[in-house]
């Protein structure tokens, strides 16, 4: 068959979203649970299609579709991450139905659920566009698409003060970071006169002017992106928003925008790495940001008693680990210590374990009416299955071998050690120990303590299936990472895509 054009994926997703909206508005009120199931199915199909798309198509360099959009290996990889994340988030939102209904009183039962199922689809489209964006225009626009939809999702539960407060905080700080992002883009455009990353790269390859304006611009852009990936010191919103937002949205925030943000981050800083007097300082500032995130996230997570909030801090921490890898983007792709591989793999693993923990958390929280750590006491009595799932997730987050999380840390620190970043490694030592502490607190609660009420927890088939699948995936990919690493290759390596790969997947300090 003739390979699909990659953008069909986004198109299908958008159509799905619009369809859901229409269905919501025209269907008579009633049970809406078919919607997420249907869209999960569609997303799964799209996921499947993504293996049959053509790579980048060569066309005139005078601008046009392919100057904004790239479908190289990493792009496809992150599209798939977005799709998977969205599908699992929809599963969560099914489990979360009751809370939503309680929080948004409509005229009819289930009013507003449709939008709650539809908006993530559009977010997914935005994430997919982000994954492919190689031009500041598209980066900005798709980023905003994601952000705006997240504004709505975070504040979705209008009855719950927490949700609204989180929404406002996210809105203000998000808009602020957007301001910085735009201002930064402005500066980069001003210096280089281009918005396309490849063109910026080629312009900068013989750049003579003073580095200050460039650094100023790139820093402002980093502010915007750092906000998206929850890196210190732009993490300030994370704990509150994560805690206040509806749990599925929290999960989505911590996975989706982080993943896309990191891809964009790598694409954006890459052209600057080669510029004398700029590249090294960009990496230096990355080191600072990484160190701050590691410390802030891990240390802040230790005293937390609310699991959701603790996971928020841990999300900052993981941003830190990913940034450690970003600071050592230089090695050749495919060898141990290649930062791109590390980041991609880490994000995939992070997706699995975070979503797993959030899914379990939603179920447990519904049964023991609360998402503090104490609510997990004696879970291994109430539901060994959930306890095991949570155990796997926590161990993976803590980075215990034979879980995806360990491979992630392994690759990250391999990259760091190869670049001799022993400062970050030293901080990593502290933070890993701290990580063991706060993740194992959950394990201890589940296995050491006795439950308040011994009532068993029954789980719907779909959740059971998804939890089992995620746990299995964590362990399997923790032993055989090859499948994930293989996904990073280009769909069809043509000349253009090689170039695209150079700009995206294999930056190197010439």
């Amino acid at each position: 068959m003739h390979p699909l054009s990659p953008v069909t994926l986004e198109i299908i997703v958008v159509i799905l979203g619009v369809f859901l909206l229409l269905a919501e508005s025209f269907s008579k009120p009633g049970d809406k649970s078919w919607m997420p199931q249907f869209s999960i199915f569609i997303l799964a199909c799209v996921f499947g299609f993504s293996f049959f798309t053509s790579g980048n198509v060569h066309d005139a360099a005078d601008g046009g579709f392919w100057t904004f959009y790239s479908a190289d290996g990493p792009a496809m990889f992150f599209k798939r991450i977005a799709l998977a994340a969205t599908a699992i988030v929809l599963v969560m939102s099914i489990e979360y139905k009751r809370e939503i209904e309680r929080a948004i009183p409509g005229e009819s039962p289930g009013a507003g659920l449709g939008e709650f199922y539809a908006l993530p689809i559009f977010t997914c489209a935005g994430l997919m566009f982000m994954a492919s964006a190689v031009d500041f225009l598209l980066i900005f626009v798709s980023l905003e698409l994601v952000t705006v939809s997240f504004y709505v999702l975070v504040a979705y539960m209008r009855r719950s003060n927490a949700s609204l407060e989180a929404g406002v905080k996210y809105l203000i700080l998000g808009a602020m970071s957007t301001g910085f992002l735009v201002y930064g883009i402005t500066w980069i455009f001003g210096v280089t006169g281009e918005t396309n990353l490849a063109k910026i790269g080629s312009y900068l390859s013989h750049y003579q002017g003073s580095p200050q304006p460039l650094l100023f611009g790139i820093m402002l852009i980093l502010v915007g992106l750092g906000f998206k990936v929850a890196a210190a010191p732009f993490q300030i919103w994370v704990p509150d928003v994560y805690q206040g937002a509806p749990t599925p949205v929290t999960a989505y925030l911590s996975v989706g925008s982080k993943a896309a943000g990191f891809l964009v981050l790598m694409r954006v800083i890459q052209p600057f790495l080669g510029v004398p007097g700029v590249g090294n300082r960009v990496l230096a500032i990355m080191t600072v940001i990484a160190a701050l995130s590691l410390l802030y996230g891990n240390l802040g997570a230790m005293p937390q008693d609310n699991l959701k909030r603790m996971l928020a801090y841990s999300s900052i921490a993981h941003a830190g680990y990913l940034l450690v890898a970003v600071t050592s983007v230089s090695a050749v792709v495919g060898r141990l210590g290649s930062a791109e591989i590390a980041i991609a793999y880490y994000l995939a693993g992070y997706l699995l374990m975070t979503l797993l923990s959030f899914l379990v958390m939603i179920i447990v929280a519904r049964h023991s009416r609360g998402d503090d750590i104490v609510h997990f006491n004696g879970l291994c009595k109430r539901s060994p299955f959930l306890a095991f799932g949570m155990l796997v997730a926590m161990l993976s987050l803590a980075g215990v071998p034979f879980t995806a999380g360990f491979y992630g840390k392994f690759l990250v620190f391999a990259a760091a050690v190869e670049q001799q970043h022993f400062f970050l490694v030293a901080i990593g030592a502290i933070t890993v120990a701290a990580g063991f502490y706060y993740y194992l607190r959950v394990v201890a609660a589940m296995y050491w303590r006795e439950p308040e009420d011994g009532t068993r927890i029954e789980i719907s088939f779909m959740s059971r299936f998804v939890i089992g699948g995620l746990a299995a995936a964590i362990i399997v990919f923790g032993i055989f990472p090859q499948p994930i690493l293989g996904l990073l290759r280009d769909p069809t390596p043509s000349g253009q895509s090689e170039a695209a790969l150079k700009t995206s997947a294999a930056p190197s300090l010439q």
């Binding site: 500041f136 009855r159 735009v182 001003g190 006169g193």
Partner: protein
């Protein structure tokens, strides 16, 4: 003397800083929101200035070359304005919802999530 690019950049920078300061200083969420608009428009100003400054080659219908402002930047400005409008809409909706729930638009009153 003629105006230089830096004059515009300086002015826009100051506008940006004013918005920035407003976000940090004001307590009323709506006004904070206005300040965010200020920041975005400051960016717009410098963008337009740059687009005027970095002329690009352009082929006229009659085949002759000429220099025109870099319209990519102006398109970006256009997008920014649109996005800003959308953000305002959503933001104000959230603020309204907040006001309904809590009868306030002051940041001191929404500090239940902390530590």
């Amino acid at each position: 003397m003629a105006l230089t690019l830096n004059d515009y950049l300086l002015v826009s920078g100051m506008l940006f800083a004013i918005g920035f300061a407003g976000v940090m200083l004001r307590r009323n969420i709506i006004i904070i929101f206005m300040c965010l608009e200020l920041m975005l428009n400051a960016a717009n100003l410098s963008l337009v200035a740059f687009s005027r400054f970095n002329l690009t080659a352009r082929i006229l219908p009659d085949g002759t070359h000429t220099l025109v402002p870099n319209y990519n930047a102006q398109i970006l400005v256009f997008f920014i304005i649109t996005v800003a409008a959308a953000e305002v809409a959503v933001g104000l909706a959230i603020i309204v919802a907040l006001y309904r729930a809590r009868q306030t638009t002051h940041v001191e009153d929404i500090t239940s999530l902390k530590f």
